[in-house]
């Protein structure tokens, strides 16, 4: 269901599942756009030489995934604040899943609070966050 207004939102509603593109090719595009060209994001071998298990998805890209998920749920939603905690690395070329759940609705001012997580295939939370969204 496409969400357009605050009336379309239900407390406890889960946002449609979102599987982000964590491929090395996509991460390279992202870091070029962001100006974050460190090898630990773009090269598995270089990351291993730094003692990492492989290349990492930048935290700011995970944050971008969370925002994109909100817009895929409600394309006109205006993000008022998004706060993300980087709990553990998100690994490049490994599947991850994003979930979101509506935890509060302020119908009078048209604001919604959403809890968000990025998890790996083992179900371990790697990034979590909260967003405040305005649905006019």
């Amino acid at each position: 269901m496409t969400v357009s207004t605050i009336q379309d939102v239900e407390f406890g509603e889960e946002l449609p599942a979102f599987k982000p593109d964590t491929s090395l090719e996509n991460v390279r595009i992202f870091v070029a756009a962001a100006g974050w060209g460190a090898a630990r994001f773009t090269d598995h071998e270089a990351a291993r030489k730094e003692g990492l298990p492989g290349a990492l998805v930048p935290g700011i890209m995970s944050q971008g995934f969370l925002a994109a998920m909100i817009h895929q749920w409600a394309s006109d939603a205006r993000i008022v604040k998004i706060d993300t905690v980087f709990r553990a690395p998100v690994m490049v070329d490994q599947p991850h899943y994003i979930t979101g759940i509506v935890t509060d609705i302020n119908a009078e001012d048209s604001y919604v609070e959403i809890d968000l997580t990025v998890s790996n295939e083992a179900g371990e939370t790697r990034v979590f966050g909260t967003a405040t969204v305005n649905l006019a």
Partner: protein, 147 residues
């Protein structure tokens, strides 16, 4: 061991960095698409409300991470999180000015000792001086014992 209250009194809310950023159209489109954005206002430059995605300010890095005379704690700083408060749309071609200050300093103590959290905030302004966004970076440092 540094006293956090003293650090807060000395360093909070004082700008220690100022930097300008150019907002490039192609880069914000690539940024948005790589994140999975499909809303045309972030991906289509012909859209009437075309703008950078809301998390774009998180990618803008200050020239300095911390004030010049800020004490070192002996541990390695780790990126603990990012927060963004978008206030106005960021349009391509605009030059943004970012002013950075320490917004918060606090500690948490666990089994392995004290961890110091530093929250730096970059306030972004457009050429007219309008405040367009805040971008916070949280860094955590596990303090090394001096013994």
């Amino acid at each position: 061991m540094e006293d956090v209250e003293t650090l807060r009194e000395k360093y909070l809310n004082l700008d220690y960095d100022e930097k300008t950023f150019e907002v490039d159209q192609d880069k914000i489109i690539a940024y948005a698409k790589a994140c999975g954005e499909i809303a045309p206002r972030f991906t289509d430059p012909t859209h009437a409300d075309f703008q950078a995605p809301p998390t774009f300010p998180s990618s803008l890095m200050a020239g300095r991470h911390l004030p010049e005379d800020f004490p070192r704690f002996g541990g390695i700083g780790m990126d603990a999180g990012k927060a963004v408060e978008p206030m106005l749309p960021i349009r391509p071609g605009v030059q943004l000015k970012g002013r950075t200050h320490l917004h918060d300093i606090y500690t948490k103590t666990g089994r392995s000792g004290r961890m110091i959290f530093l929250v730096s905030r970059m306030e972004l302004y457009d050429p007219e001086g309008k405040h367009v966004a805040n971008a916070d970076t949280s860094t955590v440092i596990r303090e090394r014992s001096s013994e």
